[in-house]
Amino acid sequence: MSLTRADIENIARLARLQLTEAEIPVYVDSLSRIFAFVGELDRAPTAGISPMAHPLPGLAQRLRADAVSETDHRDRYQQNAPKVEAGLYVVPKVIE
């Protein structure tokens, strides 16, 4: 399977990844090769087989009660934030 430059630009936009001009042809080539390789799956006999939903047979995702279990760690967590003001995360203006 062969992907085009437009495909890669579209995928990168969906994934919110800014690619450099030099990166685009590299990913056109390597993703085309990856999709040719995973194309092998087409020949697997999967009629009537349900998709696997959990790695352990018979187990499903556990649920918990929607109860408060944590105390407020905002100040501590915000020490890792690139930009904070008055306890708020700062991003560029969203509404003009």
């Binding site: 919110r16 990166e23 990913y27 990856i34 995973v38 799956l41 959990h54 790695p55 352990l56 890792n80």
Partner: protein
């Protein structure tokens, strides 16, 4: 106290007997780390001061009669595990400034058992790689030959244990990231059953495949350390509520009557002939120990690599969506608007392989392709799991190679992702099926170590460690130390 020969078991015994203190032991490892770091690059962060403080606390606990089996034993963590107050980078520029506000459950479990943390180990960026060459902090070198890769993604863990600059290390395995570097560095690696060890605080790559484990000198050491890091954790929704056995209790059990399966597909093609002959040698050791062999077939197993390269990137693209340059991690300079902030922070903060996986995953999950790729792969995954389940109806364990070749040269496989991905052809199956697996040193080819892989049914860690330990009582491959570090 000679560091090169030391196993966790021997060090624990020495500490208990008062042959040396934890401070002395920790200092000797810190010296070895410092000497080896320029050549190996196994560490991202060395926490010398905190380690000595923890060691002093361990010595004080021992003096007060409060020591446990592992009190004062030093180890290091793969830099994928969150460690409170310590830089936790996951091998990425994206997290190169991230100081974790909390400990992963694995880290707190081992801390509670009294172990001393020496620092954080290098790894492929976000655990995506089989050679440790994708790390933002530079490649790790193989202690057996510095021109060679140590394997990946837990390359720092494997190289550090092989060079005996740490007695043991934590690691993680999504498609072979514990077993393959263990094989390439000549050390012991265990990936437990999915759900056995909590994933809380372990930076997520592919959540249905990721599992924490260990890289150690011996199976006995793995048995000592696995207990404290295992068990139910309400903070991980896929953690399994099942009691943790004492893995050391059954290590010496007889293998008489054990049936070991040889997976036909593991020996079909692609396996280096010299490596195969080392695996056959290991089979003879098991025969001597009373095990019987039976050939089994897992006909869908050859599809495990393409299956993985749909499922893992899909989960990776979802998991890594959290890195948005807003709440933590790298942010680009002077963003024009919010979209620019997202796109440039991610474009600049992630390395080439991580971006490749995110885009692969984004594509297979996108409208119109989801059924053809993602659901198809999850169906094949079901077939692969069924193959294993059928095999375990006939045999107790499976045995085969860990990796198709010994370590390859740094730079040799960087240009072709498919060639790189095929390194994990023998290990990925266990991840897809959630099974536990191990790699044990079983000889050398051209001066480079070869790994023997064991795969067991779900929650068979005790039996697998038993089989590994008995093999290591008959052989000394696991005790070989690279000449430069002896």
């Amino acid at each position: 106290m000679s560091a090169p020969a030391a196993t966790v078991a021997a060090l624990a015994k020495g500490l208990a007997a008062g042959d040396f203190s934890s401070v002395e032991l920790t200092r000797s490892y810190l010296d070895r780390i410092q000497a080896a770091q320029p050549g190996l690059n196994a560490f991202i962060t060395v926490t010398a001061e905190a380690a000595l403080a923890e060691a002093a606390a361990a010595d004080a606990a021992r003096a007060a009669g409060k020591a446990g089996a592992l009190t004062g034993v030093p180890l290091a963590h793969k830099d994928i595990f969150c460690t409170e107050g310590v830089l936790t980078t996951c091998g990425s520029k994206m997290l190169s400034n991230f100081v974790s506000p909390y400990d992963a459950t694995v880290v707190s479990g081992l801390r509670r058992s009294g172990t001393v943390m020496l620092g954080k180990l290098n790894m492929d960026e976000f655990a995506m790689g089989s050679s440790n060459e994708t790390s933002y902090f530079g490649p790790v070198r193989n202690p057996w030959n510095p021109a060679m890769v140590p394997g990946g993604s837990s390359g720092g863990s494997a190289a550090a244990v092989a060079a005996r600059i740490v007695p043991a290390a934590t690691a993680t395995d999504t498609g072979g990231s514990i077993r393959q570097p263990a094989a390439l560095c000549g050390v012991t690696g265990i990936k437990p059953t999915y759900g056995r060890v909590s994933r809380y605080g372990m930076i997520a790559f592919a959540s249905s495949l990721d599992q924490a484990g260990l890289i150690t000198v011996s199976a006995e050491d793995a048995a000592l350390l696995l207990g404290p890091m295992s068990g139910f954790d309400p903070k991980d929704s896929t953690s399994v509520e099942s009691p943790v056995p004492d893995y050391t209790r059954t290590l010496g059990d007889s293998l008489e009557g054990m049936t070991i399966g040889i997976v036909k597909e593991f020996f079909d093609k692609g396996l280096d002939a010299e490596c195969e002959s080392r695996i056959r040698d290991a089979m003879r050791v098991y025969e001597k120990l009373g095990a019987k062999f039976r050939e089994v077939s897992c006909p869908n197993l050859p599809l495990s690599v393409p299956t993985y390269y749909v499922v893992a990137p899909a989960e990776c693209s979802s998991n890594l969506a959290r890195f948005d340059g807003v709440r933590f991690g790298y942010r680009c300079e002077s963003p024009k608007n919010l979209t620019d902030l997202y796109m440039r922070s991610r474009g600049e903060g992630f390395g080439a392989e991580v971006k490749r996986r995110i885009m692969t995953g984004t594509y297979v999950l996108s409208a119109g392709y989801y059924d053809a790729y993602y659901l198809k792969a999850q169906r094949v995954r079901q077939l692969i799991s069924a193959d294993f389940a059928r095999a375990f109806g006939e045999v107790d364990l499976l045995l085969g190679p860990t990796s198709p070749t010994p370590a390859f040269a740094i730079g040799a496989k960087c240009d072709d992702p498919i060639t790189m991905y095929l390194n994990d052809i023998y290990t990925i199956g266990a991840n897809l099926a959630g099974l536990p697996g191990m790699s044990l040193p079983c000889g050398f080819v051209g001066g480079l170590p070869v790994g023997l892989q064991l795969i067991g049914p779900h929650f068979s860690e005790a039996r697998m460690l038993n089989a590994a330990h008995r093999y290591q009582l008959e052989t000394d491959w696991h005790l070989q130390v690279p000449a430069a570090f002896a």
